[in-house]
Symmetry: C3
């Protein structure tokens, strides 16, 4: 009824994207569950997960446009807490979300043909990111 697993990705700093789809699909298969949902979760407050057509153009467009909305800067109030220049990273992560839930049908992840599950590193440096995957179903 509940199957959980996790894996770690090594990101290469601000704006680095990773396609999580295949690893999440494997965990869904390992779970033996036929129908339900799967939740994909970024542990930490400066990374994000969601869905996108995973292709080279959008891998540049998404972080570039997030930087227009929440620009890298030392002017965030958050800077007073840590002085590490990642205020924009936090806002980008919160805006996109650290949690994404997708249906499971007939033992497979249900996504569109050009719809993948991504991770976006919003922080300003390389990070080891635990990705927690929870399959709920039957």
């Amino acid at each position: 009824m509940v199957h959980h697993d996790q894996f770690t990705i090594c990101t290469h700093g601000h704006g680095d994207m990773t396609d999580l789809t295949e690893r999440v699909a494997e965990i869904v298969e390992d779970s033996g569950m036929l129908n339900g949902i799967v939740n994909v979760f970024n542990v930490g407050s400066t990374g994000a997960v969601g869905s996108v057509e995973y292709e080279p153009g959008l891998m540049r467009d998404l972080p570039e446009h997030l930087d227009k909305i929440f620009p890298p800067s030392r002017d965030y109030h958050h800077e007073q807490a840590w002085h590490d220049g990642n205020g924009h990273s936090h806002l980008q992560s919160t805006m996109l979300s650290t949690s994404y839930t997708c249906p499971v049908r007939d033992g497979k992840l249900l996504l569109g043909k050009w719809q993948q599950i991504f991770h976006l590193e919003c922080d300003v440096k390389s990070r080891q990111r635990p990705i927690v995957v929870t399959v709920i179903g039957e």
Copy 2:
């Protein structure tokens, strides 16, 4: 424990909104489940789902303001992949999300009185959109 269903909506191009609440509520009733959650999922990477007070003003405000954040343009890197002028559609969909989860209580969808579940077409043309609904509970 798991009930799934889906239906298709026909959208009328960029910025078209659809109120999904009644159809999702019917699927929750059909499921016979009294308590749990329901996940509503847009299959594809250029549509979005979420919650909004579904009234004519916000049906214009939401797409208009998304177009200010991610304006229609041929300047997205995504344009190199498909040359179909929908780079902004992808970013709008990713930003809002393609997945929305809502509680089920006493056999009913739990929402505020002025809170509905919407679909927003972010793509530049009419689309047939499969909406996948998964009820998990007891």
Copy 3:
């Protein structure tokens, strides 16, 4: 398999943030469930929930920057419906989301050390906000 509970927070108007983590963690403990997910839900269309490093700087940065993206104004089409000056509140809520889902492991909420579950009041006045929490697991 399903445990649900709710509590009410009293918010102090536009931009007021509340840390929900401890109360959600208590409900997870009360549920007796060891593994699964927990959904946190804002009833209503002018509040939001999500994850953030809950510290004083970001508590100012998040609402300030949302007000740059969707500024307080009487120019929203929504104003025609209610004339209550909260068009931006609706858009901010829809953009962030009214629903957040987090994993449960070994009977505990699984979050990063500097990752908390927040509520953000986007409306222009104080509100009583029901927060609905649903634990699904085993």
